[in-house]
């Protein structure tokens, strides 16, 4: 995920790390890349990358091991899931419903589309209890 100029960059860095934790690319208790590595990869200012990382330290998603680097905190995955679930409605559900309304797709048609999609991709999400 590349960083763009339309939102505060440090927020985008923090989100990118959160996304990686959510997807499992970054496991709990493993090390995350250093600030300079983020900066080089995204071609941004190291200080800005540092701000993004520090934000996650403040919210308890990452923690610092002195002399080694930043690590993913235990339980951060669960916490992020909870946080994202809260904003799921605004970010994904509302636009989906609005677009469906624009195209005249009824609720039952919507549900049918979801089932069809699951059958095709064979991906039925397991319900995660928190």
């Amino acid at each position: 995920m590349l960083v763009d100029d339309s939102r505060p960059i440090f927020l985008q860095i923090a989100e990118a790390i959160e996304n990686d934790i959510l997807s499992g690319a970054l496991q709990e208790e493993t090390q995350v890349p250093s600030t300079n590595e983020f900066a080089a990869f995204h071609r941004i200012n190291p200080a800005t990358a540092g701000k993004g990382v520090n934000l996650l330290v403040e919210t308890g998603i990452l923690y610092k091991k002195r002399g080694i680097g930043m690590f993913v905190a235990q339980g951060s995955h669960a916490r992020l899931v909870a946080k994202r679930r809260e904003s799921f409605e605004n970010e994904f559900l509302a636009p989906l419903v609005a677009e469906a309304a624009k195209l005249g797709i009824s609720r039952s048609q919507l549900a049918a589309m979801v089932s069809k999609h699951d059958a095709q991709t064979h991906e039925i999400p397991k319900e995660k209890t928190l």
């Binding site: 100029d5 339309s6 080089a40 800005t48 509302a94 636009p95 419903v97 609005a98």
Partner: protein
């Protein structure tokens, strides 16, 4: 955070022309600043004043706590790279890099060598025979390898092609990451450098019109487009910064939208797109110029 540069009420007149008009700002150490503005806005003049190459008409300048004018203590810690730098006749790049360490106490010769290779600079060709890009590379290499605590780059990369410019940005970022120093870049190529900048100072006609954190500016404006009716309904009670229209469609720029605002826009079937730093700067400059014209 230590303040390395403190400017109060700075003005510079050339006859009846005002190049800098009552500028007040400060620069904190070890951050990358962007000094943005149109050609002739006053960016170079400000840099000339801060490095004591020109003399202020009025106002005060403090660099590292002292006035920089004829002050070797301060000037030793500054490196000013400008596009129009002149070199002694018959000088070759190797002469420039050989003499640089005498003037820049933190000069890193190894770093300079690596940069010479990166930019493919012919060390033994006379400066006046260098291409525009190679000439710019000389300045850029001096600016980077000087490791001066306060480094100014006055659009010295204009002669560089896109590949060389990217090399410059990459090396700059790497280097400030490992050796923090205060860097002030002036440019009108905003999109290219925008991701490097931490703080933005925008100048127009000698006046400072924006002095803010880059991250504050990013995402501070959003463009909302759709049918005129839907747009008009949405913007009720919101501050409108600009507006364009085409037939029954309209596009307005509003301030920052929070999650609820975005949801409302989506629900109304409106399209959202965020305003990039460059677009934002251009818009603010245009607004400032219009106001300036009207106030005359």
């Amino acid at each position: 955070m230590t303040t390395v540069v403190e400017v109060k009420g700075l003005s510079k007149h050339y006859g009846r022309f005002t190049a800098v008009d009552d500028a007040t700002f400060s620069i904190e150490e070890n951050r990358v600043y962007g000094l943005l503005g149109r050609n002739g806005a006053g960016k170079t003049t400000i840099m000339n004043l801060l490095t004591a190459q020109a003399f202020a008409s009025s106002g005060s300048i403090r660099v590292f706590g002292e006035s920089p004018v004829e002050n070797a203590n301060v000037l030793d810690r500054i490196c000013f790279i400008k596009e129009s730098q002149t070199y002694p006749e018959e000088f070759k790049p190797k002469h420039v890099f050989a003499s640089a360490p005498w003037f820049f106490p933190n000069w890193d010769a190894e770093f300079a060598d690596r940069l010479v290779a990166d930019f493919r600079l012919p060390l033994n060709r006379r400066i006046k025979k260098l291409s525009r890009g190679q000439l710019s590379a000389v300045g850029v290499i001096v600016g980077l390898a000087s490791r001066a605590p306060l480094t100014f780059f006055d659009e010295p990369y204009l002669g560089l092609d896109a590949v060389a410019r990217q090399i410059f940005y990459d090396r700059l970022l790497e280097d400030v990451g490992e050796h923090p120093r205060t860097v002030i870049l002036s440019t009108h190529l905003i999109d290219e450098v925008s991701k490097l900048l931490e703080h933005v100072i925008l100048i127009d006609e000698g006046r400072i019109i924006v002095d803010e954190e880059a991250d504050e500016l990013r995402g501070s404006e959003t463009t909302v487009s759709g049918t005129s009716a839907a747009v008009d309904a949405f913007i009720a009670g919101r501050e409108v910064l600009s507006r364009t229209g085409l037939g029954g469609l309209a596009s307005v720029t509003v301030g920052r939208l929070d999650a609820a605002g975005r949801a409302a826009a989506a629900a109304a079937g409106l399209e959202l797109s965020t305003v990039s730093l460059q677009q934002l700067i251009v818009r603010k400059t245009n607004v400032s110029e219009k106001e300036f014209e009207q106030s005359k």
